[in-house]
């Protein structure tokens, strides 16, 4: 039985707050980068079946741009920043003044800019978590891919596969002005990391 299946509401709230702090910092970093106000939705924290993970971003076959970083240190896990194509183009326009068509694919330069955005966001997300929990958490060099959301996210779920059919996700959506930027942040801590996060925050762990 999946040991996470019995997480009480209280613990989920703690994780939600953890996500909130991280995402708040990331939103601030993004807003500085774009020189525009960036809002975010209150993160959702949920234990959801693998089948439904990709639904959060429009389905298994939805094409997304994904920046993936492995989190190393005391509480390892996987981190994804996913954006839909039109949002990625928008980001590139406002960052680099690059105008490119949807059909053209992405140049080396655009890829590199997008993975740098992912890198900055993940870095600020993680450093606030590390400050808050006093745990060391550092991201690896980001990897980037344009592909189906299902194929990408399933890669981050393998560790959970050994334990059950669902994973714990901390998911945040960013908004630019009133327009949805459709950028999603997924933090998927390794199953072993929860105990460490909880004890770092002084939550009794029986």
């Amino acid at each position: 039985m999946n040991p996470l299946a019995k997480l009480e509401a209280f613990k989920l709230d703690v994780l939600k707050e953890v996500g909130n702090i991280g995402a708040g910092n990331a939103a601030t970093a993004l807003s500085r980068l774009l020189d525009k106000p960036v809002d975010m939705n209150v993160p959702t924290v949920s234990l959801i079946p693998f089948e439904q993970v990709a639904d959060r971003v429009g389905g298994f076959e939805q094409v997304v741009i994904a920046v993936f970083l492995r989190v190393e240190g005391d509480a390892p896990g996987n981190m994804f920043f996913l954006i839909e194509e039109h949002s990625a183009r928008k980001l590139l326009r406002s960052l680099l003044s690059i105008e490119s068509s949807e059909e053209a694919g992405y140049s080396e330069m655009e890829f590199s800019a997008l993975s740098e955005i992912g890198n900055i966001l993940a870095g600020s997300y993680l450093s606030s978590l590390a400050d808050f929990t006093q745990l060391s958490m550092s991201p690896t060099v980001p990897a980037i891919a344009v592909d189906m959301a299902g194929a990408i996210l399933s890669y981050g779920l393998v560790q959970y596969g050994e334990m059950g059919d669902s994973a714990l996700l901390i998911n945040t959506t960013f908004l630019e002005g009133r327009e949805e930027l459709a950028g999603h942040f997924f933090l998927i801590p390794d199953p072993e990391s929860f105990g460490k996060i909880f004890s770092a925050l002084g939550v009794p762990n029986e």
Binding site: M1, N2, F50, E51, A54, F60, E61, V63, F68, R70, T140, V141, A143, A145, V146, D147, M148, A149, G150, A151, I152, S154, Y155, V158, Q159, G161, E162, M163, G164, D165
Partner: protein, 164 residues
């Protein structure tokens, strides 16, 4: 394609179909879509394999469809019950990609290639010939298997549509 003719295979799931029904699984990354087919009885089966071996499972009871070593015997059994003859089985497979390239090559990061190896080992054990495959590389795939023709259609964002 008629909707009721389509049998969806979820992640870590296996299904059988016959006489023209289509088996479909979406968004294969490091997972492997393995199909078995008996041309004479028109019985087809598909597994969405997530992990190479049930030895590492920490769940109980395990989901047999999730692991290469437990799902293959189970699918063979189901297809037999549906009237197929295992001696005539042929296999095709797709998936097993390495979605991201990392310098730190820990085992869990190499899961795609390990899934492919493990599926092949199971096919050898049951003496089922692998007649076509589209595995590896670094992109996701959606596959559809036709239980009448035995044709496996593979769709990907980068490579378009391919039939094997």
């Amino acid at each position: 394609m008629m909707q009721d003719n389509l049998v969806k295979v979820g992640m870590a799931d296996l299904q059988i179909a016959s006489n023209g029904a289509i088996l479909k699984t979406t968004g294969l990354g490091s997972c492997v879509g393995l199909t078995l087919f008996d041309e004479r009885s028109k019985v087809a089966g598909m597994i969405h394999v997530m992990l190479p071996s049930s030895e590492i499972a920490r769940e109980a009871p395990i989901n047999v469809a999730k692991y290469a070593d437990t799902s293959v015997p189970h699918l063979i059994q189901l297809m037999k019950q549906a009237g197929a003859e295992p001696r005539r089985f042929v296999a095709k497979m797709a998936g097993g990609a390495q979605m991201f390239a990392f310098s730190s090559n820990s085992d869990s990061m190499r899961i795609g290639p390990r899934n492919v190896e493990s599926c092949k080992e199971m096919l050898r054990q049951f003496s089922i010939p692998l007649i076509a495959e589209d595995t590896g590389a670094n992109y996701g795939r959606t596959i559809e298997f036709n239980s009448l023709s035995g044709v496996l259609v593979i769709r990907s964002v980068q490579q378009g549509v391919k039939e094997i």
